[in-house]
């Protein structure tokens, strides 16, 4: 990820977002119920990060992911309060929009499907590691778990993905 962004202009940050927004949208998707919610969360988190934290030194990924997680939790609280207040029947499942662009080949499609079927805790670690670009230490702090737990979840997730892909390839 680019460094020395502290003195960048709004235009530089807009370009940065155009290059990296998809990765962080996927991170936001881990804690939201729909693609639309994820976009709202990403917008709120990015603008908040840009206003208050863009001048801080270092890689902005960890700060931005922290901001995303906080915005997602805020959204969940707001939605819960609204649901309780209105006593309405919200549709709890998000719309079936894929987290990824359409795959070019069957193997990538299988991998996407397998990833979306992982348990939440494992999938979050994979998303933060692969697309968020965080270290295990940073992931552990994001998810309130130990470093060993984060690393284990990652290892289990990849093992499960490999197992799923092997099985599906064999069945085909």
């Amino acid at each position: 990820m680019e460094t020395d962004l502290q003195n960048s202009t709004a235009s530089d940050w807009r370009e940065w977002f155009a290059r990296n927004g998809a990765r962080f949208l996927l991170c936001a998707r881990q804690w939201t119920r729909s693609q639309a919610d994820a976009e709202d969360v990403l917008q709120e988190a990015f603008v908040r990060f840009w206003r208050h934290q863009r001048h801080l030194p270092g890689d902005p990924a960890a700060l931005l992911v922290t901001s995303i997680r906080r915005a997602a939790l805020d959204l969940v609280r707001r939605e819960t309060r609204r649901t309780n207040r209105e006593q309405s029947s919200l549709v709890l499942d998000g719309e079936p929009i894929s987290w990824f662009e359409p795959a070019d080949n069957a193997a990538d499609q299988l991998l996407q499907d397998a990833l979306e079927r992982l348990p939440d805790a494992q999938r979050q670690v994979v998303a933060l590691k692969i697309w968020g670009g965080l270290t295990f230490d940073e992931i552990a702090r994001q998810l309130d778990c130990s470093l060993n737990t984060a690393a284990s979840r990652y290892r289990y997730a990849l093992a499960r993905l490999r197992e799923t892909l092997t099985t599906l390839n064999y069945e085909r």
């Binding site: 998809a22 996927l26 917008q43 840009w50 929009i97 990538d108 990833l115 990849l158």
Partner: protein
């Protein structure tokens, strides 16, 4: 540890996460543009909330006492020329948020009635699609529904209470609030 899973990790990195929608990108771009020209937030962080609220209320009172009524809020479209509807994405996000937060106060202050004996209560405020005049000013229209109640005392010691629902569209200049 990772060496054993290099193939899976490489395969995952090949997947392309879905890009944010054009609307999302436009809103973020608008927010960045708006905030790039405003004061850094850190300078405002230590201003006590009560002082901010007081200053806001005082400013709103001054605007509506000293200026003609249609300077900030009007019952019809802005006079400069016909406003055109704009998508919410093109309205600077920070202004939009500020408008949403303060519109109720502003509209309540600007809710005169034709008859001074009529008591006006706002029933609902519904934000409509933002509009923009050719000279670049943004206006946030609000459809406001009122209940106007008039009490008339008769000579026999009775009171006639007449309640009439009305509604009007107010254009709030976003730059003013």
């Amino acid at each position: 540890m990772n060496d054993n899973f290099t193939d899976i990790e490489n395969a995952l990195r090949r997947l392309a996460p879905r890009t944010p929608s054009a609307l999302c990108q436009a809103r973020i771009a608008a927010a960045l543009e708006t905030n790039a020209t405003s004061a850094p937030a850190s300078r405002l962080r230590h201003v006590p909330i009560l002082w901010s609220a007081f200053a806001m209320a005082a400013a709103a009172c001054l605007v509506f006492v000293l200026l003609p009524n249609d300077a900030g809020v009007s019952n019809s479209a802005p006079r400069t020329s016909a406003p055109t509807a704009v998508s919410p994405a093109s309205v600077p996000a920070a202004m939009d948020i500020a408008a949403a937060r303060r519109a109720r106060v502003t509209l309540e202050l600007a809710a005169p009635t034709d008859a001074p004996s009529t008591h006006r209560v706002i029933n609902s405020i519904e934000p409509l699609e933002p509009r923009r005049t050719p000279d670049g000013r943004f206006f946030q229209p609000y459809r406001v529904r009122y209940l106007d109640t008039t009490r008339t005392r008769s000579g026999a010691g009775t009171t006639l209470v007449k309640s009439v629902p009305t509604e009007a569209v107010h254009y709030v200049g976003i730059d003013l609030i």
